[in-house]
């Protein structure tokens, strides 16, 4: 199968996944009962409740509600948020840059620190440095992000005044709007706000990346071709980077696609702690308010992003290892 065929197959699979996800989320949101009661006043009469139910469309059979939603989806219209009374997709896309910013920063930190730590641990296997790094990795995987976030707020933000406690200065939003000058001007103010939340999210992934890189590299370092490379007199740097790491990348790369999804799902708590106005918090509130159009819009955006990232990972996989043909 050629690349075009593979792409077509993957896109079809992605479409099925996205539709499946919307169907499941739609059904589970409705399993919780009739949301109308959340959109009427405390003193509403049964007539007013019935009128509001009809206004919101919840008087229709579930099947009809889903069909209406699907029809809207085809036309790019996911309906208006029940809470904000604005188009749901617009609300999600408005918050999306904040979440993407946080996720990418966390991913960057996890990779920038996790890979070198994993490499050092592998190269110092069995020594105190290896033990120390693995101990740190274990701690990193054990700390709940909520607790870590609060500790950073209390110490780094409140007690030591090193970083701002909460909030955000937009960075990607002006960039997406084509206003790179504003984005550039915002950068010095935006970075301090980004540090604590992204570190909080990154810690778990960082630890996992370090462990994975270490084990993957250890396996590769014992291979014959590494010995051969050293025997040829190549510098250790070249042996590690060009021969060992390149092959150790494959499992790491597989994990990165999944890690992106993990980081996306991890933003809910961190966005709450650091008052970061992203999609995670939006969805959390929307679920609490049973704002079904808004939850659906967010689910679609998240699933599309997740599917796209994993598609990209598949393609990179093929590029890195020509032996692999995804069928």
């Amino acid at each position: 199968m050629g690349l075009a065929g593979l792409l077509a197959q993957r896109l079809l699979q992605s479409f099925v996944v996205v539709v499946g996800v919307t169907l499941v989320s739609f059904a589970t949101l409705h399993l919780g009962g009739d949301p109308t009661y959340l959109y009427v006043g405390e003193h509403a009469s049964s007539e007013e409740i019935a009128a509001t139910r009809a206004k919101l469309g919840f008087d229709q059979p579930l099947r009809m509600q889903y069909l209406r939603f699907a029809r809207g989806l085809v036309h790019g219209d996911l309906g208006d948020s029940l809470t904000f009374h604005e188009p749901a997709l617009e609300i999600v896309l408005e918050r999306f840059p904040a979440t993407l910013e946080l996720t990418c920063a966390a991913m960057l930190i996890a990779l920038a620190l996790g890979i070198p730590l994993g490499v050092f641990a592998a190269l110092h296997r069995g020594r105190p440095l290896d033990g120390g790094i693995m101990l740190l990795a274990l701690v990193g995987q054990s700390i709940p992000s909520f607790w870590l976030g609060i500790m950073l707020v209390l110490f780094v933000g409140l007690a030591w005044h090193w970083l701002p406690i909460s909030g955000r200065v937009p960075l990607l939003d002006p960039l997406f709007a084509g206003d790179w000058r504003t984005a550039w001007n915002n950068l010095p103010q935006a970075l301090p706000f980004l540090v604590m939340p992204s570190v909080t999210i990154a810690v778990f992934s960082l630890a996992r990346t370090a462990r994975l890189v270490r084990s993957s590299l250890l396996e590769v370092l014992s291979q014959d071709y590494v010995r051969t490379a050293r025997a040829k007199g190549l510098s250790e740097w070249r042996v590690i980077v060009h021969h060992a790491l390149r092959n150790a990348w494959l499992p790491v790369l597989t994990m990165l696609g999944l890690e992106f999804g993990f980081l996306l799902s991890g933003v809910v708590v961190v966005e709450t702690v650091f008052s970061w106005p992203g999609v995670g918090r939006l969805v959390f509130n929307a679920i609490n308010h049973r704002d079904i159009p808004l939850v659906e819009a967010a689910v679609i955006v998240f699933s599309l992003l997740f599917v796209s990232v994993n598609l990209l990972v598949d393609l990179l996989y093929m590029r890195l290892d020509p032996r692999i043909r995804l069928t």
Partner: protein, 532 residues
């Protein structure tokens, strides 16, 4: 085992140095930008308020949530407004006159009112402020369309002259003026030019402030409305920051980044009071916290459900709960004890809260024929509670359950998700048979506080209370327009309500705010963050 040679280590050392250099550069850049961000302080004239949730809509026809109302009252005026001590004072209106038949209020408007764009605000705009939210084609569900206009039984407006407008409703309503005071007045021209979707996040003000920016889930920024002709507000601007996590909000207050924060949680009271930079300000709010005894026939088949149909049993359970101790131990602040459902400053009934008297409770239960069995249990009940809706709600419910179990009423607590489970049960009148609930009243009218019980089949009569003597009171109130006579009737209704033990009265929820020492501000009972 793979051991590294010296040359191998040197190779790694080179890469380590590269990483270290990069790291140092990053850290330096970060330090410089941190200093810049921290140095960029908000000007002093701007009041910074931290709240837990974002506004829901900045369309005056659609705004609904309590935090939104604090913002909305700064953006738009009202014909009358409620003062902090619960009085209705003229605001955009100079006067109000009730018609002889009691079905219309005529308002004389101030002549100096202006829209944000500088155009004069006239009776036509006031009429539009009522007609627009009432227009069924827009399907508004907010406070105006969902509560005020139906409660008022609004029928229309009449423009008598450019500065005189009459608001008409279907029947006499003793709390009509207070309800009208909850309607925001906005200008017709700018709102006719907006779609409802656009209006949801773009405000055209008539009040003391105008909207500068609303960054969803982050902040709402207001600045002084230059067209506002009434006395200028105290601050040049107000920033409402959305900080959902209470401990982060507290940290921002203590760091000096907020002037006021709402929703202080009990375990942070001491930290704030001992910070040296802020204090906790507490007020008994208009929100009544009670346990409802559900009389719905659904529960009649259960022993507990049958038992609580007897008023003596309900009174007994009231005597069994030590409310002041609940407040001290679980809310860590004294509470205004709830004697009746009427907010204390407006409560002229003379009814006192039942004291904690477990012996009397047991005696009442014995009299009612519910003696302890061999296992010490008289009957069993379930107490349903939401989680996280009211401060420490689950623990309050658990403590109540223990008090009731102590007098032989074995009580099990059923913790429910508020939005998906608890609210639908309550609204369908099938929560319980006991349920922990908060219900909002008003600071300006005793009659408003009774509005949970407009009729035996009223939507907010969640306990299906159906005493005919109580509901006969409404007919008497409708027949007289004299407030003194109405107060007498209310006293009678409240006596019935109290003697029947309709609710297990707990307390008026104490609202806790963190207030910076740099400002002088007092909280209001009606849960509005007002700057008067």
């Amino acid at each position: 085992m793979n051991r590294l040679t010296g040359r191998q280590r040197r190779g790694i050392g080179t890469s380590m140095r590269s990483f270290a250099l990069l790291g140092t550069m990053y850290a330096l850049g970060l330090a410089v930008s941190c200093a810049a961000a921290i140095a960029a302080e908000t000007p002093r004239q701007v009041l910074r308020i931290g709240m837990a949730v974002d506004a829901d809509s900045l369309d005056p026809s659609e705004a609904d949530a309590q935090d939104t109302m604090s913002i909305a009252h700064l953006l738009w005026g009202t014909l009358y407004k409620t003062s902090s001590d619960g009085k209705l004072d003229p605001y955009f209106a100079l006067s109000a006159k009730l018609s002889d038949d009691g079905r219309a209020y005529t308002f004389k408007l101030r002549p100096d009112l202006k829209c944000e764009n500088g155009a004069p605000l006239t009776a036509r705009d006031v009429a539009y402020s009522f007609d627009h939210p009432a227009d069924p084609k827009f399907r508004f569900t907010g406070h105006a369309a969902g509560f005020v206009l139906p409660a008022l039984r609004y029928t229309g407006t009449r423009i008598d002259d450019p500065l005189t407008v009459t608001i008409e409703f279907a029947a006499y309503n003793p709390i009509a003026l207070g309800l009208i005071a909850e309607m925001f007045i906005f200008c017709r021209a700018p709102y006719e030019a907006m779609t409802p979707e656009y209006a949801a996040s773009h405000a055209s003000a008539t009040g003391p402030y105008r909207l500068v920016e609303w960054r969803h889930d982050d902040r709402v920024v207001l600045e002084r409305n230059k067209s506002y002709a009434l006395p200028a507000p105290a601050y040049d601007g107000v920033v409402f920051r959305v900080i959902p996590e209470a401990s982060t909000r507290t940290a921002e207050l203590l760091a000096g980044n907020l002037d006021i924060m709402s929703g202080v949680v009990a375990d942070q009271i001491e930290a704030i009071n001992h910070s040296g930079t802020a204090k906790v300000a507490s007020v008994a709010s208009i929100r009544r916290i009670y346990v409802g005894f559900n009389q719905n026939p659904k529960f009649a088949a259960t022993p507990g459900g049958r038992a609580i149909k007897d008023p003596r049993v309900r009174r007994a359970l009231q005597f069994a709960v030590d409310v002041p101790t609940l407040c001290d131990a679980l809310l860590r602040t004294p509470c205004a004890r709830m004697a009746t459902m009427i907010f204390p400053p407006n409560d002229k009934t003379g009814i006192r809260a039942d004291p904690y008297d477990p012996d009397r409770a047991e005696a009442l239960l014995d009299q009612a024929g519910y003696k302890r069995g061999a296992d010490g249990v008289r009957f069993a009940l379930t107490l349903q509670t939401p989680r996280g809706r009211y401060p420490n709600d689950v623990n309050i419910a658990l403590a109540i359950a223990q008090y009731l179990s102590d007098i032989g009423v074995k009580t099990t607590v059923d913790v429910l998700d508020f939005a998906s489970v608890f609210v639908p049960l309550v609204r369908q009148h099938v929560a319980g048979p006991l349920f922990l609930m908060g219900s909002s009243g008003a600071s300006w009218s005793a009659l408003y506080d009774l509005s949970d019980f407009p009729a035996a089949d009223g939507g907010a009569n969640y306990t299906d209370f159906a005493d005919p003597e109580f509901f006969a009171g409404w007919r008497q109130i409708d027949q007289t327009h004299d407030p003194a006579e109405q107060a007498k009737v209310v006293r009678g209704m409240m006596n019935v309500f109290h003697e029947r033990g309709t609710w297990l009265n707990l307390y008026f929820l104490p609202d806790l705010y963190g207030v910076s020492d740099k400002i002088s501000w007092r909280p209001r009972a009606d849960e509005l963050i007002a700057l008067d």
